[in-house]
């Protein structure tokens, strides 16, 4: 039952991405390209989504635990550190380059376009290599890449 509700949350998330226009890379790029034929409509996606979340999450967190899990698992870090800044910077560059971010790319898998598959494979490879590299460097107190180990 829990898994079904998680699955349906994913389905609803995908519908939101599709209806909002986030699954269309050319729309995303024309939102980010502020000097071109600017399409500001995607601002309202983030606004609508975060305002909805803001309104609801307070009530949900008043409950002692989630419906189908032992506890709430929320991020605890408050540090504005280098990985956050540098990682977000890289993410944005990739996002602006083609117009895809992780959710919409997964939703677009069904189209079977070569570009979508290439994007997903490269993204998965990037994520996996970062996980491997990160945990390896974290275990080494004298690891060279302070950028990654300082969390």
């Amino acid at each position: 039952m829990g898994l079904l509700m998680i699955f349906l949350s994913g389905v609803l998330f995908a519908l939101g991405l599709g209806i909002s226009g986030m699954t269309q890379p050319e729309k995303v790029v024309s939102f980010l390209n502020v000097v071109g034929d600017w399409d500001p409509s995607l601002i309202f996606v983030m606004l609508g989504a975060s305002m909805t979340y803001l309104t609801g999450y307070v009530f949900i967190l008043k409950r002692s635990k989630p419906a189908f899990a032992r506890s709430f698992t929320l991020p605890t870090s408050r540090d504005i550190d280098r990985p956050l800044v540098f990682g977000s910077l890289l993410f944005g560059l990739g996002w602006g380059l083609v117009g895809f971010c992780p959710g919409p790319a997964l939703v677009a898998l069904v189209t079977g376009y070569d570009s979508v598959l290439i994007f997903l494979l490269a993204m998965g490879f990037g994520m996996y290599s970062f996980e491997v590299l990160d945990s390896r460097l974290k275990g080494d107190p004298d690891g060279g890449a302070g950028l990654i180990i300082k969390r």
Binding site: F13, I19, D39, L93, G96, F119
Partner: protein, 142 residues
């Protein structure tokens, strides 16, 4: 590009609702890069719920293609090398920065997390920088 207000707002509302639903049922943040990254790392023992959510995203794509195919009428003009580079940057960047447009942009900002707001300002700025400079230098997508 035509300016539309209702669809982005309503789509955003659905996104917020879906993220609330995941929080209510599973107590988790609906950050796609975090969910996928954790799934791909194979180190965590909680792969099942991740798989359920990711399958839901893909199934939602099937539903979109069947009911409103214009939402997946992708007009991809980018070349394969650019797409590959973008995928790598998005993959590495979202894991290093602990979130993407969903985890930071929707859930983090929704929780009024300062960390997520800063992340969102940074990735919006670098996204704008990338899109604008490509347009100015190459006169269109590469």
């Amino acid at each position: 590009m035509e300016f539309t207000l209702i669809k982005p707002l309503f789509g955003g509302f659905l996104l917020g609702l879906a993220a609330l639903s995941l929080l209510f049922f599973n107590g988790r943040v609906a950050g796609v890069s975090g969910i996928l990254g954790g799934f791909l790392s194979f180190k965590k023992r909680d792969t099942l719920w991740r798989f359920a959510f990711l399958t839901g995203l893909v199934a939602g794509g099937v539903l979109l293609l069947a009911t409103c195919p214009e939402t997946l009428d992708l007009n991809l003009k980018s070349s394969p090398p650019a797409v590959m580079l973008a995928g790598l940057l998005v993959g590495i960047g979202s894991r290093m920065g602990s979130g993407c447009t969903s985890g930071h942009g929707i859930c983090g900002i929704g929780r009024l997390s300062q960390r997520s707001m800063i992340a969102a300002v940074i990735f919006l700025s670098s996204g704008i920088a990338a899109a604008v400079s490509i347009d100015l230098v190459f006169g269109g997508l590469i």
